[in-house]
Symmetry: D2
Subunit: 362 residues, 4 copies
């Protein structure tokens, strides 16, 4: 398979450049009979949309999605769902300077090497603009997972640069532009971002996603483990440099008795493993964290070369997110949903007749 | 595809349980004409082999590999390569107790839920014994990558429990049982492991893999990015809980000017990104790190339930690695090799005629 | 993979219903740097378009294709190409009667069984309307095959009902509405079709496709043989009931000495095999034939059942092709092109460095 | 995916050459809990085995299969099933002459072009010897299809050279070396084959496979239709040159009212379509036919070239089947089983919750 399709049974194939006429994707493998409208998708698109606070890029995109197929009389038909979003605010002029230069930390250089040629407008295909389609497709998966298996997928920002959350309330997450669950940190983040913007700098962030009510049994070892597929899906998001399942890197300096999650008839006593054992869901919450790097689109000059190999200084004008992590929560949720959706279907296919007789512990 | 195949063009399909008669895999897509013998594979198998120091499981396996097809007159033919390793030291009696119980932190519970039934001997399919075939297949990929593109893949242990390396010499890595590149830490690690074994405990570790001379252009955005595929492949290794590319999670609290790798006509000035931009290799070293959890096979009793859902105490006898990370370096190298091999072929397929005219910077 | 994607490296993923707002597809894996415009695609779409003669359905569709991504400054970028065709002449009212009934010989019954629910307007997804996207994607493959490897793919109608061609001239094929290469049979076919239409009947046809200048070596045994993949791609076209490679079924009563294609230094002495040996192209013309059944959309009443399982009589009004084979030539060419394109890329991936030193015989 | 894997959810990956040490395959995706022993597989292997009558090759192979994994305590575990058959009667000396020459009608020339190098012993990978693994894997699929869905798959020879069957009795099929269901034709076939062998010639054959009790709904349009996948799987068998579904090529000169299969509440009135409409099973018998070419291994001299491009005369000594169709019935059954198995699982995955409320008609 070429690189723009994700999934085996529930597949999403994506197209579109930052400054092309439109973005789109095809969602194939959605079971028939589920109620689906554009509103179901728009909710998550609006959560990701640029320009909703002063802390993100000021590009204005309606990100209005159209369903072009696969839904009839308000229900999915089981045939592929075509989704389309027109680009409306491209302003190609902002980007004309980068046609001949490679912005450091960007995909300009690697794309040019690979393809010998690139759509330089706004980063072309390498722009995070394509994540709109991930969110759109993910919204369909989220709806199905909830409707068919009561699975819920929610994310939040757990760290913004040096600021780590200390309190956690789901109800706070959607009330601030950071998806921050700690109400006491929001003002601090606002100030940090304002200072950062003045400085011309950017910063990284950490996002965590939690999937609850996942049935035990999802994941296809030895390669297509649930955690391996989550790592793939989450690492495929622009700017992600690390993925953790459960406690992640903290396991290195933890002893076995402290890390193993003991089990009682009433449930697990801890969840260091993040809801996955041997690559298969246990029934506990799936927990995954990602690290997003600071964006490299900066108005502070950086050294680079141009297409002729000559040294240049690069200053990135235009509209950019000083912290791409701020808008990444809906994207991380979407990628998690795509993986769980695919594995729910894969699990059903092979284990249609299985009844382990075991309790589902949380 | 079912879950026991990795790769799109260079595919490895694996089978075998810990205590079954044999393990095997099929390597499909290896280009024809490469010299290949069992010795080429055995070298890496011997590096992973159990029982070579007192710090690993005392199971004795010759891990002698046979090539059953795909090689003729000492050269690969382009047809699938069948590999087989017979299991010789199974001692099933050691494991009979776990037939009815779920060891905490192990895959027993999740396998039973998924399949309704499991081969409980030594963990069956969920045992790290299957990683022998990963190493065998990886050895073929490593040989081809070196022969065809001069790519070199090497790994090392960078942290064992609380002990982090401070010095780095490649020449040291193969001279100690830990794959530790810091000669001054080896004695400390030996003592730490001896104490741990007495205690009955286990511990985690961090492994890093570096691929050098990787040509720019490998990786297939937007989903099959090189870093995403590495994350998948590395997270699919038993006990891995986290994957980092380049600086990984350290990017969260780093500013954009510090993180972006500036470029000069003589080369990159840093490699925080770990050799990947926009999901495509840049020509710099690919750097990936993984965290391995402490094994859950402990002789210190832990609470769990049995197949009837009743509470039990579990003590794991038998032969186990107190730190699975110690033997993980060759496995991490192998998985990295499989990903690079697949992407080298995928890149050639689409970009046969591309000449970017750009210099290859390191 | 779900069922709406074809290809491994050059993949086409399709969506769209007969009476939905639009049809589309994503072509992923097209090498970068090829000149491509909407005109390149429109040529073949116009050859397939309905309503161009009195012998096909009178539905009027402009079938105007838009390229939404993957092309920049007139050249392919190596990123996915999004294609879109708006439906303009749906007339849903014509089809309202079939909501509750299953037309015999149509996919109504099997779709309802599979999905429990179907878009009944004009056959929904099962309509041959989707073949427009096959032709569009195929046009891109055809252009690349010609530009990169001088491969040419052309088809023709070799039999319409009882009328078989006896003469063959490529120059005649595009001069009549049947793609018939025998100038003497065109009038006979016109009369036959006029009579058939009056009668209210439909009829089958045979189409042959020839790919010339195919390099030796394409095809990936033992399963993904070139002939097997052609059979898959051609049988996936609506109404196709049989596929032959080379002499096809005539081989049954042929002896070995007559069938084997002898070789001389100047070339092969015959081409009974149709250009494929052992599943790999030989360099000779690839020859494949398909049989298309008579359409089941007839105004002559037929027995069936309705969604409640009750007996009914079905009469199909609306606009239909009395011989779907008439418009099938561009579709068969397109499917052949998709397979050859995919295999050209697959072959390059694995055999990058191969030089057999053998002559290319035709 | 590389070319030696078939299936999406129920996958078979195969390896092995005619004269290598062993053949094998990995069956991945078999649901857990099915009773399975080597005897279940051996039955079909013995039906395909060479040397069981004077009409097939005199190579003597026990074709004894070993299950190496995926079965525990007599039941499938849901993990991959490794199968192995050792080659015992290779006699490589018989084939040494063909190292430098290309037998006309064989894959020698195309393999050499593709890979630049080939295992010439007995045709290497291109030998029909690999079909043993198809039959072994197919036996597992057949067992599951019967156990889980009561699906039965049976084949027979319907034509041998000029001799067509006129009567049909299932009970006759397994009582003669041809799998011929017409008791009156067996003696005629025996005589025909004896004469052919004396002559040094070979001949083609037609095999038909019927799958009964297939539930409606299998098949994944628009590309992975059930008929398209059958065409792929059957065309991938050595020597096959044509595939028909239902009436196949006879549809060309049939009118619509005669071809459409009318439906009544009691069932379909005919089955011209072969049990597939719109690429989805209807519940009727699936009917597929294949044409197998006469083998090109003949002791009658044929013109060809050698590896240096020089003209030569080729005489094939060694042990060969004068009609490969004679042993092809179990292979065709196996390939049909693999496709149905894969599609049964795929269908379940997506349509887990569907209840169409429709009757299953036959």
């Amino acid at each position: 398979m070429s690189g723009n399709t994700i999934g085996k049974l529930f597949t999403v194939t994506s197209f579109g450049e930052s400054h092309g006429p439109a973005l789109g994707c095809i969602v194939d493998g959605c079971p028939p009979g589920m109620a689906l409208s554009e509103d179901d998708i728009q909710i998550d698109l609006d959560r990701r949309k640029p320009g909703t606070s002063r802390h993100t890029t000021q590009r204005r995109e309606a990100d209005q999605v159209r369903i072009l197929s696969g839904v009839f009389e308000g229900k999915t038909t089981g045939t592929p769902i075509g989704l389309l979003i027109e680009n409306t605010d491209q302003r190609s002029k902002d980007y004309s300077k980068i046609a001949e230069s490679f912005r450091p930390g960007h995909a300009d250089y690697s794309y040019q090497h690979k393809y010998g040629f690139r759509d330089y407008r706004g980063g072309g295909r390498s722009s995070a603009r394509e994540t709109a389609m991930r969110v759109a497709a993910g919204a369909i998966a989220k709806k199905y997972l909830k409707a068919s298996a009561d699975i819920e997928i929610r994310g939040f920002l757990s760290q913004l640069g040096p600021i780590k959350i200390e309190k956690f309330e789901w109800s706070v997450v959607e009330t601030n532009p950071f998806f921050c669950p700690d109400v006491d940190k929001v003002a601090e983040m606002e100030q940090y971002m304002d200072a950062l913007r003045k400085e011309g700098e950017s910063i990284g962030a950490r996002i965590e996603v939690i999937a609850s009510n996942v049935p035990p049994g999802l994941g296809e070892p030895i390669f297509d483990r649930l955690d391996a597929e989550l790592a793939y899906a989450l690492m495929s998001i622009n700017a992600v440099k690390g993925v953790e399942i459960g406690d992640g890197f903290a396991c290195i300096d933890t002893k076995g008795t402290a890390f193993r999650d003991e089990i009682t008839p009433e449930g697990f006593l801890s969840n260091h493993a993040g809801g996955v054992l041997g690559g298969i869901s246990t029934g506990q919450n799936i927990r995954a964290s990602i690290a997003l790097k600071p964006t490299s689109s900066l108005r502070l000059s950086g050294r680079s070369i141009n297409v002729r190999g000559e040294p240049i200084d690069v200053v990135t004008q235009g509209r950019h997110d000083p912290c791409v992590g701020i808008r990444a929560t809906p994207i991380a949720e979407a990628m998690t949903a795509l993986v769980l959706m695919d594995h729910l279907l894969r699990h059903r296919a092979q284990n249609f007749e299985v009844d382990s007789g075991l309790p589902t512990l949380r």
